[in-house]
Symmetry: D2
Subunit: 146 residues, 4 copies
Amino acid sequence: MKPYKRTVQYYETDMMGITHHANYIHWMEEARVDFMEQMGFPYSRMEAEGVVSPVVELSCKYKKPCTFGDEITIGVSVESFSGAKMTICYDMQNKNGQEVCFARSEHTFLTRNGRIARIKRDMPEFCRAIERSMSNDFGAQTERDE
Amino acid sequence: MKPYKRTVQYYETDMMGITHHANYIHWMEEARVDFMEQMGFPYSRMEAEGVVSPVVELSCKYKKPCTFGDEITIGVSVESFSGAKMTICYDMQNKNGQEVCFARSEHTFLTRNGRIARIKRDMPEFCRAIERSMSNDFGAQTERDE
Amino acid sequence: MKPYKRTVQYYETDMMGITHHANYIHWMEEARVDFMEQMGFPYSRMEAEGVVSPVVELSCKYKKPCTFGDEITIGVSVESFSGAKMTICYDMQNKNGQEVCFARSEHTFLTRNGRIARIKRDMPEFCRAIERSMSNDFGAQTERDE
Amino acid sequence: MKPYKRTVQYYETDMMGITHHANYIHWMEEARVDFMEQMGFPYSRMEAEGVVSPVVELSCKYKKPCTFGDEITIGVSVESFSGAKMTICYDMQNKNGQEVCFARSEHTFLTRNGRIARIKRDMPEFCRAIERSMSNDFGAQTERDE
């Protein structure tokens, strides 16, 4: 998997002169959507097939500020996946390879009417794609291990 | 009608040290929603009855910057309403009565499936509320006339 | 301390029909700023005296979705404060008293040039205000204990 | 000049199921920053040399909704430039070449302390780059003329 690249926008800065911390949550989503596309099962397909995957928990550790014009590289990896829950990690680095933020999001899978979706039964192709990404997400993994 | 009051948030500032210009679009929406609530026909009721009212045009003139902690007073008034289109004006002032921004938004009315809604026929109560606000929106009007 | 009240805006919803999860980070900031104002030491005063207080870590547990028009009540309390770090908790409830989100943010204190601020020495009034809030933040506390 | 490409993000949609209208203001800024980079005088250089260029007026005509996953192509062109003011146009199209939004922003040039910057005297290289873009911005121009 190729990491997701994102340049910090002017409107994402605040009067402290740095990226406002809320924007990293947007980047996580962008990187996650890109990751699902790369793994061959875009998020839009999941919703088209009647399943939504809301965030039920998230955390961010802000390590180093970044600001307008900085290019951030976001390595995404699936930390765990049970069919009922999925935990995704995001390793954000600046151009010098310094860690800017480390984040995690946890997701469930629901049907349109709010019931728990039976993903293992109803979306086997998605499950296989996730599991494949977990066994060899070299890109994200090696960057984090360094 | 009472004008809408809004305190500028830290996350709405940018590295120039002032409110980023995109946020005023959010304030317009907040003030418009508040206005519809005051006039007795909340926007949520419109959607509950199957009509959405998308913005088809907008403009802003930024007169004076504002920043974190400033209290902005937004006078809202309906400039025109034809049943097919509605134009709303927003007069934003700071605590010293200085004009911060003057903005305008134009709206249509659509059914859920994207057809033009026949608002005069199907939503007479909304039309009456709008027309009433146009004949005596003293609050917003007098502030702008000063 | 009075809890902070916030009505969900239309622009804060997403195509899932609920509040997008990134917006809760904004609400945390709004509630924190309101809390500091209530405790008698506004955040703007901190910055005016040369200290910024960036978020270094945050976490959210999303318990129940909310959407456009919902009124959210946010109880704020200081969980810990050492002079070098401060942890704040946010308990967000809907009108029925159901927990919508529980969140936490951790802050450091820096001088304008990025050095660690010596808050206990240089901002004793702030420290006293925080400690006072910790000993009797009845409002937020009792709500969470229920 | 190459037009700017932007994929609509999930967090940019609202409960109407389409891109919320405020986000187009962000895209205008992204496209403008990209345009200045392409013309050889990045906006960051302008600020580094002590000049800021706030938006003093903007307008958007929303022609056709777009939503999550849509790729939007934004042609940017300088409509007028006097040294004191600059007007920029944005022509946003979807993948089928349909116009999604047409927008315009007007900018002034200020020094850090809020005075009008004498751009023709102090930033001749920027002025030349702008004028060059106006004489042959084939990319954006031809797209709009079609």
